[in-house]
């Protein structure tokens, strides 16, 4: 259970996050959407305990995992990049299989492509157990097939541990297929909060508008 009340984050004069009330229940998968700079990463990092909030409360469970927006490859091969978490070799091999990386398992992680590395980073967090899984744009570098593998892996992880999952995304595909609920942020505030289907079909929401057929540049 995550409970947010009057949460604010300021950088100097500027308030980048300002949430009155927001909560995520146990076992729920929530997608966070919103324009660049709307505060998605900031919220995730506060929940992960990586940055301090300026005001308010953000109650989160004790065991939290957070996948940064920027993927990082540790030295060594793919298997070591997963076993570094304390997971066994068997677990690592299974996770690599699940995310379609088996054929690369002996390669150096630093040599992976952007989308491959992103999936490896996901393997790394999924190798550990937690009550709250925070993912910052977990499919941003993936192709459609890669994204499908990611979505299935996240679903399986949630089903096996019953944890809460909060993930930010710019992809309606991810929101619709993986999330029970979609929260749209705008300038650090909640613009919309509901099922992905409802929000995406609501033309009053700026973020949703960009995904309709009529939206042209």
């Amino acid at each position: 259970m995550v409970e947010i009340k009057g949460l604010k984050k300021r950088y100097g004069e500027r308030t980048v996050l300002d949430l009155d009330e927001l909560s995520f229940s146990d076992g729920e998968t929530v997608a966070l959407a919103g324009a660049n700079g709307s505060g998605k990463t900031t919220l995730l990092r506060i929940l992960a305990g990586l940055i301090e909030k300026s005001e308010g409360t953000a109650k989160a469970p004790g065991s939290v995992l957070y996948l940064p927006q920027q993927s990082y490859a540790f030295r060594g091969d793919l298997v070591r990049n997963i076993t570094i978490t304390g997971a066994g070799k068997q677990t690592a091999v299974e996770l690599l299989e699940k995310l379609g990386l088996s054929h690369l398992s002996g390669k150096k992680a630093k040599s992976l492509s952007g989308g491959e590395l992103q999936r490896l980073s996901l393997c790394r967090v999924l190798a550990k157990k937690s009550e709250l899984l925070l993912l910052d744009e977990p499919t941003s570098a993936c192709d459609a097939n890669g994204a499908a593998l990611v979505i299935r892996a996240i679903r399986d992880y949630r089903d096996s541990c019953g944890c809460t999952v909060v993930m930010s995304t710019h992809s309606p595909m991810l929101a619709v297929n993986a999330a029970d609920r979609l929260v749209v942020l705008e300038n650090g505030k909640v613009e919309a909060n509901g099922t992905p289907e409802d929000i995406l079909s609501n033309p009053g929401i700026q973020w949703a508008k960009t995904f309709t057929a009529g939206w042209k540049i």
């Binding site: 992960a48 990586l50 990082y72 540790f74 030295r75 060594g76 790394r124 967090v125």
Partner: protein, 228 residues
Amino acid sequence: MESFRQAFELLFPPDRELLQIIGVTMRMSFVSTLVSCLIGLPLGALIGSKNFRGKSFLKKLIHTLMGLPPVVAGLIVYSLFTHYGPFGRLDMLFTVEIMSVAQVLLITPVVTGLSSSFIETSSKPVIETARGLGFSGFRTARLCINEGRASLLSVVLNAFGRSIAEVGAVSIVGGNIQWKTRVMTTAIMLETNKGKFSFALALGIILLMIAFAVNALASFIVRENADG
């Protein structure tokens, strides 16, 4: 060419005095590098990873000290340890130890400055990833060192290089005493002043060879443990 021949003659068979000078040089450089790293690396890590008031002032100070002229460092140490100075009682002037002290004063800011900017830039993603996985602060620090060991090695080698090549401070506090505090650089100065340019150059060639050997050895050690 003459210098290369002389360098060769000094080395095969090795000249007794040359060996002694190399010994003093290595002792001084190793000790001062070690001490500077013991102080500078943790300090650099601390400054690089924490945000606190006065941080930018501290960084400016360190960057200024990185450019401290060696003769000034030598003079400071000299005046502290001279007979009437605050540490005069220790009677350390004109020893290899005091030369190392002067070197530490010179190199520690370099180690601190370089390692703090290294932590600040390249360790950010490591810290973010490791803490996201719930690793402890200690574990995260160890990971940063392991991930950045090539850069950290170059910090250490940079320090060692400065120490072995430095002449101003060590000649002031060491005095360039034969069989005691003479090091490669002060020997080169002396031979240059005597007008024996090609012999001085021969010593310079040997100094470069030593520096190269130390660099090669250090990168070999790091590479050897690079199982990932």
